[in-house]
Subunit: 316 residues, 2 copies
């Protein structure tokens, strides 16, 4: 018996500052309808899917940030997406700006079952960028200013037969470049990693050292390799295109446990990828090359948790 989960990556084109929430939701619902029509059981939307990627702008007043955040999930501003998904009996992953009752902000994602239950929540741990605006940059990367670091670890949940009992984990954007997060998921038998991202098409630190092509290559490479090294499927989904002058890469992919690309976006707009993921394909890697119990040697991994930054090696 094979365990097939039909998964969809719902890449989104840009959300500009002028777009209303209704316009954005209408596009997301259209992607959801398309996915349901194609029989998808799980749809992965991008990071901060409901708004533009606002950390690129410095906002002096905290109150100016509130428009980008959801005070609860769901809430009336996103309810139509939740309702339509339940009608279709389709679940989803979606990224959003989370505002807690205590007024704390996180870059978060939720996993919602086909019957509308919140199965799991993740708050982004690897926040890139800076806390203070960098002088001279046309676009900032202020995630460290606008969000608290995630405090929920790297969760995986074992789902029910309606999702083929898939073990599903979540990452957000920059997390996909950090093998530590992937490994925490792998150490929980993850079979499908859902990732949404907003990645600049230019070097966010300034300079012209990284083209959109190179940055798309990086994005794809890390998903392929970390999926392989953890014997898991991965769906990595962009918000892409030109948001008020600032470019975002596309390159959404669905990758199998061999690290091979099964589907890849070809546009910078709204675009759906659908793949039948055989979850039992994870077993080959997990029982052989990446049989962690047989082959990992944690007694030599101490520096990974004992130090944060690099330490200069001895001279010889």
């Amino acid at each position: 018996m094979t365990r097939i989960l039909r998964i969809a990556g719902a890449q989104m084109g840009p959300n500009t500052l002028q777009d209303t929430r209704e316009q954005v939701l209408a596009r997301m619902i259209r992607l959801l309808d398309d996915a349901a029509e194609q029989g998808a059981q799980l749809v992965v939307f991008p990071e901060l899917a409901f708004t533009t990627f606002f950390p690129r702008w410095y906002q002096e007043r905290e109150s100016d940030l509130l428009r980008y955040f959801e005070p609860s999930m769901p809430n009336p501003n996103v309810q139509p997406l939740f309702d339509r998904a339940r009608e279709h009996n389709v679940g989803f992953y979606v990224g959003y700006g989370e505002l807690t009752p205590e007024g704390h902000r996180y870059n978060s994602a939720v996993l919602v079952s086909p019957t509308g239950e919140l199965l799991s929540k993740y708050r982004k741990i690897h926040l890139p960028g800076t806390s203070e605006p960098k002088p001279g940059l046309r676009y900032q990367q202020l995630e460290k200013r606008y969000f608290r670091y995630g405090d929920l670890g790297f969760p995986v949940v074992r789902t029910r037969p309606q999702w083929s009992n898939a073990a599903i984990g979540m990452l957000i954007c920059n997390d996909r470049r950090w093998p530590e997060g992937w490994r925490v998921l792998g150490l929980q038998n993850v079979e499908l990693v859902c990732i949404g991202y907003n990645s600049a098409a230019y070097d966010p630190g300034g300079g012209d050292g990284e083209s959109a092509e190179l940055r798309t290559f990086h994005s794809t490479l890390v998903v392929q390799a970390n999926a392989y090294m953890n014997a898991t499927w991965a769906v990595s989904v962009a918000k892409a295109g030109n948001e008020d002058g600032a470019g975002l890469i596309g390159g959404s992919v669905i990758v199998d446990p061999n690290g091979q690309i099964r589907a890849q976006a070809s546009t910078l707009g709204d675009e759906l990828l659908v793949v039948d993921a055989d979850l039992d394909l994870c077993l080959h890697g997990r029982q052989r090359m990446f049989d962690f119990a047989a082959h990992r040697r944690p007694q030599w991994y101490g520096p990974l948790v004992e130090q944060v930054g690099a330490i200069e090696p001895p001279s010889v």
Copy 2:
């Protein structure tokens, strides 16, 4: 000022059981001569470069293993390689079977300076395969039987101006698939990771789930991604081809800190790759995306060292 190190990957074709040590050394010296003629300063040879990949065979008597091991490094059986390298003022990495004075066996590699000093030694930590022969397999993978697990950690050394002050680390074969080892190197500011390998062209666990093409893809993918995620150059070098009926993949590569391939072997035989590695290319990643001190969150990496195997996630 850029810091250029001209590095060479010296892929080797098969060493069969019939090959004498003199024949193998002659091929290695020919590769070394070619590298020196092209101005290379550091030559990377494969894992267990002096012999066939003997862990594929079950040897009942320990004494039958001795022919594959070096009782010291250097020793008269390898001295001609060391002598020629010093004549050329070229340093090298070479993998070999290490037999200690206490009679312990390791799968080891040494880094030798252009003036013939042993700068660093590494003993393979991620030993693949099994301790006991698996019934019914034409070729075994008995590294866990024939070698002790490495006990020297993952060393990096900061070299002198004759090697552009490169910070050089070592891995061996299967280690390249384990991001934990790469990260320990990255946390020591590594700028060049040297890797030798012998990787079967068939699925060593039996079955036909993995073709030579897929296994070469895996080999290349993990080097590209781990080089990128640690902002380092990498030279990954095969012993390739048909050793007494058992196939080994080729696919040796030199990869830059963006994860891009700068040179790649096209044969399964003796073949030299030469690249001018600008070590300062590591700075871009190290100071931005992979500024570990700014972005790592070790408080969430605990499972990497607190558990060996995977633990089932909660059901929802």
